[in-house]
């Protein structure tokens, strides 16, 4: 077959020597190209590890985004001060650089934020995030560019298909957060294990859910109902009421729930929503905490402002947690909690929340993955994340090792329940860990 480029389409040399001039220009261009390539190569050789935090720097969730930004900057400083990240193919210790992609607390913002991180900042790995919907909106671009991604919101859709099986097309995603399914299952076990014996000792436990109408809320409830079937728990779900994201008036739903007389109400939303649900339940609708257990609420509510805003009416309510603002579980595995909390408070003058902690851990995971990969090649980092196994960081994990299970690329976290008690001296609620027994400082106590 005739090679068109080499044969018929090759430009005919100019008989007056202009062809030689063109050749010289081509040579010059080639040399310039080579020089540029060498320079770029040198830059690539010299550049630091580039991590991209996708979070809400603006919009309604900006304050929680600020928590992530602070926690991440702390982790970066610690890693850089501790000798940076060793990258084998450079045979050098390399500093971490952080870039922020602002999701603007919206799906559209998440797309532009992740585009900036991938295209403009050319990050080696993307991580973090607050809202599942925003992280999911960023996912198509991450898949297209095959960028290693460690999301920290809770939806299992990051790694699984809508039918909840593993999704091979998301092979670059490694989920570092307890999922709604995990939380839902733990809530079912906790209610049956601790609350039932107090609220409904000889009866089926009647439970009502009031949850956010979003993948976040739906998966918590799905985890709960799946666990009821799986463990054949003696629980009757008497109400499943929902509310839209950002809604703050729950009185009609709570009035209906009160009329159905459940033994427990699980209010599932973000921090501000949870505070409003509990306050409206007790103060406006008149749900009596002596007759109905309120909780457990989402771990995402566990933030210093939650304890402050909820006030006395939060007495005896419970939280299903992964990280506690004030309590520290027993045992040496949790020593790192106290160190992290002190360092954060010393540097920023405030306490961190759960999403800050998960982003902090994610920086260490990313740094370890780069070390394991020995390269800044994205494919090698993805491979390293798949094989990674490291000591528990701040968030508690089962078996004390952080590893992404090969099936779903999720980490098996250790969840625990806390009950709230009013501290007269502080004038604020404080938590006591009550479940599971191996971590518990006390048992669940009836409000009376």
């Amino acid at each position: 077959m005739k090679n068109r480029l080499l044969d018929s389409d090759r430009p005919t040399p100019n008989p007056r020597g202009q062809g030689r001039g063109a050749g010289a220009r081509a040579l010059g261009l080639a040399m310039a190209g080579l020089a540029a390539a060498l320079l770029l190569g040198a830059e690539a050789e010299a550049r630091n590890v580039r991590l991209g935090l996708l979070t809400s720097a603006t919009g309604p969730a900006a304050a929680t985004g600020e928590d992530q930004k602070r926690a991440v900057s702390l982790a970066r400083e610690e890693i850089n001060a501790g000798g940076c990240v060793f990258v084998k193919d450079r045979n050098a210790k390399v500093q971490l650089d952080l870039f922020i992609g602002d999701d603007q607390t919206s799906r559209e913002g998440a797309v532009s934020g992740v585009t900036k991180l991938i295209v403009e900042d050319k990050v080696d790995l993307v991580f973090g995030g607050l809202g599942s919907a925003f992280g999911m909106a960023a996912l198509p671009l991450i898949r297209e560019h095959v960028v290693p991604y460690i999301p920290t919101p809770s939806t299992p859709l990051f790694t699984r298909t809508p039918e909840m099986g593993p999704d091979p097309s998301k092979a670059m995603v490694f989920h570092y957060q307890a999922t709604g399914l995990m939380y839902g299952a733990a809530i079912a076990d906790f209610l049956v294990g601790e609350v039932k014996s107090v609220m409904a000792p000889d009866k089926t436990l009647r439970v009502a859910w009031l949850y956010q109408d979003s993948p976040f809320g739906a998966e918590f409830f799905r985890g709960f109902s799946d666990r009821l079937k799986e463990a054949n728990h003696p629980v009757e779900v008497v109400a499943t009421e929902r509310f839209k994201v950002g809604e703050t008036d729950y009185r009609p739903q709570l009035t209906k729930i009160k009329a159905l007389a459940p033994h427990a109400l699980v209010p599932m939303g973000f921090r501000g929503e949870t505070v409003a649900m509990l306050q409206q339940a007790v103060l406006d609708v008149g749900l009596d905490p002596k007759r109905i257990h309120l909780g457990p609420v989402c771990a995402c509510a566990d933030d210093p402002l939650y304890y402050k805003d909820l006030g006395k009416i939060g007495q005896s309510t419970t939280i299903m947690s992964l990280y506690s603002t004030y309590a520290i579980p027993k045992g040496p595995a949790f020593a790192r909690w106290a160190r992290f909390r002190d360092a954060y408070q010393k540097k920023f003058g405030v306490l961190p929340g759960l999403l800050g902690v998960s982003a902090y851990d994610a920086v260490y995971i990313a740094a370890r993955a780069v070390e394991l990969a020995g390269s800044l090649d994205r494919a090698k980092i993805i491979e390293a994340l798949g094989k990674l196994q490291m000591e528990q960081l701040v968030l508690p994990v089962r078996g004390g090792k952080v590893r992404f299970d090969p099936k779903h690329r999720e980490v098996e976290f250790f969840l625990f329940a806390q009950q709230m008690f009013w501290d007269e001296k502080l004038g604020e609620l404080r938590p006591v860990i009550i479940w599971p027994a191996e971590l518990g400082e006390a048992r669940y106590r009836h409000p009376s």
């Binding site: 109408d213 009421e241 103060l283």
Partner: protein, 294 residues
């Protein structure tokens, strides 16, 4: 059990409470539209400015929230006057799209200014706490928190005051005259520019009242005004553009339908059902419940 009269009465009360907020918001909107024929898309942001001003007066200065409400009404009323004089008045007579873009710009300016000032301290939501937050009236079939009773009473007192202003004073007559026929009013010697300014100021003040009362019963953020403002637009279409009576009835009807829809059908239907009501009313009476009075 859920059809118990006490339970249904309770849902009706929730509907009337939130309906009163919609009513105040819609009344302000319809007053501005009736007089100036301007659609102020930033009305929800004026509402939130009012809520945050009351919050600030209470939280930072310790002013009683129900006194703060009036200071906030005056403050946001003045802001409304400034917006009318410096923003909408220079655009009068130009293409309508200029007014629309001005109000969209106001949305962004007010939302971002409030977010910058408050979110670093209060995260997603703030709420105004009155000394009566834990006090309830025992009404037999149901308990009613003092704050809800005050909200209903205060709303109706202000609406009565507005009625007296519009229908029992010379100024109100001039305002209604301007609303009916601007040119004729000007020819009769009415200072229509002054009427515009006053209408915008009163409308903004009512939005501040709506926001402050909303902020006493619900948590709010700088972005919380958007949805109530959309609903207020639906209310004034439902009630009849430019009609105060329509805004009052439409607001209450909207709140009650929304409450019962949430109760019977669930939260997912909250907004949809009320808009379905709007569509149904418009099918039967395209001019709204109360025709705009010429």
């Amino acid at each position: 059990m859920i059809l118990d009269p006490g339970v249904l009465l309770q849902v009706l009360i929730w509907g009337l409470v939130i309906g009163s907020v919609y009513m105040l918001l819609a009344t302000g909107l319809t007053l501005i539209f009736g007089v100036m024929k301007v659609i102020n898309f930033a009305h929800g942001e004026l509402m939130m400015t009012g809520a945050f001003l009351t919050f600030l007066l209470w939280h930072a200065l310790g002013l009683h929230p129900y006194l703060g409400v009036f200071v906030s009404m005056a403050g946001v009323g003045l802001l409304g006057i400034a917006v009318e004089r410096l923003g909408f008045r220079p655009l009068r007579g130009t293409a309508k799209i200029n007014e629309i873009f001005l109000s969209i710009a106001l949305i962004l300016i007010l939302q971002n200014a409030l977010a910058r000032a408050f979110i670093p301290y209060f995260r997603e939501y703030a709420q105004i706490r009155t000394p009566y937050a834990h006090r309830v009236f025992d009404l037999g079939l149901l308990n009613l928190r003092y704050d809800f009773a005050i909200l209903l009473g205060l709303t109706w007192a202000v609406m009565l005051g507005l009625y007296l202003l519009l229908f029992r004073t010379e100024f109100g007559r001039e305002m209604r005259g301007t609303s009916q026929n601007r040119l004729a009013a000007a020819l009769m010697g009415i200072d229509v520019g002054r009427i515009d300014t006053a209408s915008f100021g009163i409308g903004a003040g009512l939005a501040a009242l709506a926001g402050s009362l909303y902020g006493i019963i619900n948590p709010f953020s700088p972005y919380s005004g958007t949805l109530p403002a959309i609903k207020a637009f639906a209310v004034i279409i439902l009630g009849g553009l430019g009609s105060i009576r329509g805004a009052v009835l439409g607001g209450l009807l909207y709140g009650v339908v929304e409450g019962f829809a949430t109760f019977f059908l669930g939260g997912a239907w909250r907004d949809a059902t009320a808009f379905i009501l709007l569509l149904l009313v418009l099918l039967v009476r395209p001019e709204g419940i109360f025709r705009e009075r010429a």
